[in-house]
Symmetry: C2
Subunit: 320 residues, 2 copies
Amino acid sequence: MHIAVTGAAGFLGQRLIRQLLDQGELRGQAITRLTLLDQVEAEVPGGSRVEVVSQARDITAAGAFDDMLDARPDVIYHLAAVVSSAAEADLDLGLAVNLDATRALLEGCRQRDLGNTRLIMASSVAAYGGELPETLDDMTALHPQNSYGTQKAMCELLINDYSRRGLVDGLVLRLPTIVIRPGRPNAAASSFASSIMREPLNGEEAICPVPTDLELFVMSPGKVVEALVHGAEVDGEAVGPFRAFMLPGITVSVAEMIDALREVAGSQAVERIRHEPDTKIQAIVGSWPTRFHTRRADVLGFERDRDFRDILQAFQEERH
Amino acid sequence: MHIAVTGAAGFLGQRLIRQLLDQGELRGQAITRLTLLDQVEAEVPGGSRVEVVSQARDITAAGAFDDMLDARPDVIYHLAAVVSSAAEADLDLGLAVNLDATRALLEGCRQRDLGNTRLIMASSVAAYGGELPETLDDMTALHPQNSYGTQKAMCELLINDYSRRGLVDGLVLRLPTIVIRPGRPNAAASSFASSIMREPLNGEEAICPVPTDLELFVMSPGKVVEALVHGAEVDGEAVGPFRAFMLPGITVSVAEMIDALREVAGSQAVERIRHEPDTKIQAIVGSWPTRFHTRRADVLGFERDRDFRDILQAFQEERH
């Protein structure tokens, strides 16, 4: 079992790689090789007997995937992407990385007859937008209101078509907002959602820029990685006539998140959250859909977090 | 008012051009120039004082749109496309013409600051597919089951994003099955729908390959051209958060079409239809959605045919 990962140096890539090496097998087959691809050489976890090749590549360059694909991976995790704010700031960069590189990857698979290679791409809740219903489902149209979501939605269509034609065995998982991310706050509009839990647990102050009745559709890093692993194992035929769908997040309000923090870490943690409304962040985050019927994912056996308290406790355990 | 038309030599392009020259104005402004683009030099209707430039271009070649865009058209009708059967037979050709050329056209507009140019692309009912609800609406997801529909759906997303960014003023109209087309039967699976009316009216035999209870979602050539003209006149802001939607066809069964033929041309015409079931055509045509709530188009003032009898009578009048 040879697994390739693009975007392997990122938060999700690194976590996925550790999980794969921990379990040592995928689809009941021993993992014998990992190929890691990123702009920089991705870190290779030590202590494993799996052959790990880490390549620094600009995936917008011609032939960037050649070495990786020549080795005929059984599963490809395509996590490399220009994120939403950057894709919005630079249309050409977003199109080159998010759309053209994905198309080059598909073409590379086609040229090498990798019709049985499972290609798993991460898409996003940002692909939804516009005048949305109260509760979304697998048949809700993608009307993205940002270039990142547009490029992801275009890739979904292309991966579906290449899969339908038997040129690759594709699967696209639309990710909910991932909380709680480790590390430091970043420029993402959703950064506060991790920050208001993580910083107080570390004895630091955090700013909550949104009203506490604001809801989010979230998934823990652990469950996202489980979903990526499970995505390699589901039967392509069973996915049905479209190879992209939303993963089962849970809907949680900021107030519920704060209540969970109080239960787990007491009032002194909650008092470290400063409420400073930011209308810009409210406008962006408030436009994201938060309620989904994820029937396709449920039927295929993808699992959601039980509740936010579970997410918080898992984060606490990992810190220690 | 300078109007450019790609695919200008086609059935729809020719009919649109005649209509534009007949009315002489668009958006209340006199039409002063028409630029026609196609693989071959499109026919230029005579007797008009409008400056008409007809260019033979391979739109997959670099710079194919340069001359057209340098003349800064106010409205562009982008009708050029590789149709469904050809796009299915040749993935590379479909991607080059339907996707890459449309992207090149958008980029050309962006480079020339044509943010106020109304770009109207024809999309198709073929963009829908998969497990569809009984009645579709503007929020039904596009899960195309053919490469043509995939490429059109990708262009819809791209045109929407370029419009959202103010790089062009785009609009995409998804066309129902167009009946009654003039001319001869062709290789399209829906060809019979025109054939079983047109040939009997000409005293010729026609073959009906589907059960008479099969339904179609149809629009007359006249109403499609009206929609293209109206598409230049609607306010881009009023279109809402997504620039693509289905045009208002009417749902009609083959039996209703045959009844209308009997009313208009008598039983001897109906007797010229031979019923020879073709499971292949049934499978393709039977998978197309036939019932839509086209709220977006209705609100914007796009009009449907009154009934199939109207369509048939209009065709009769045009023949004479």
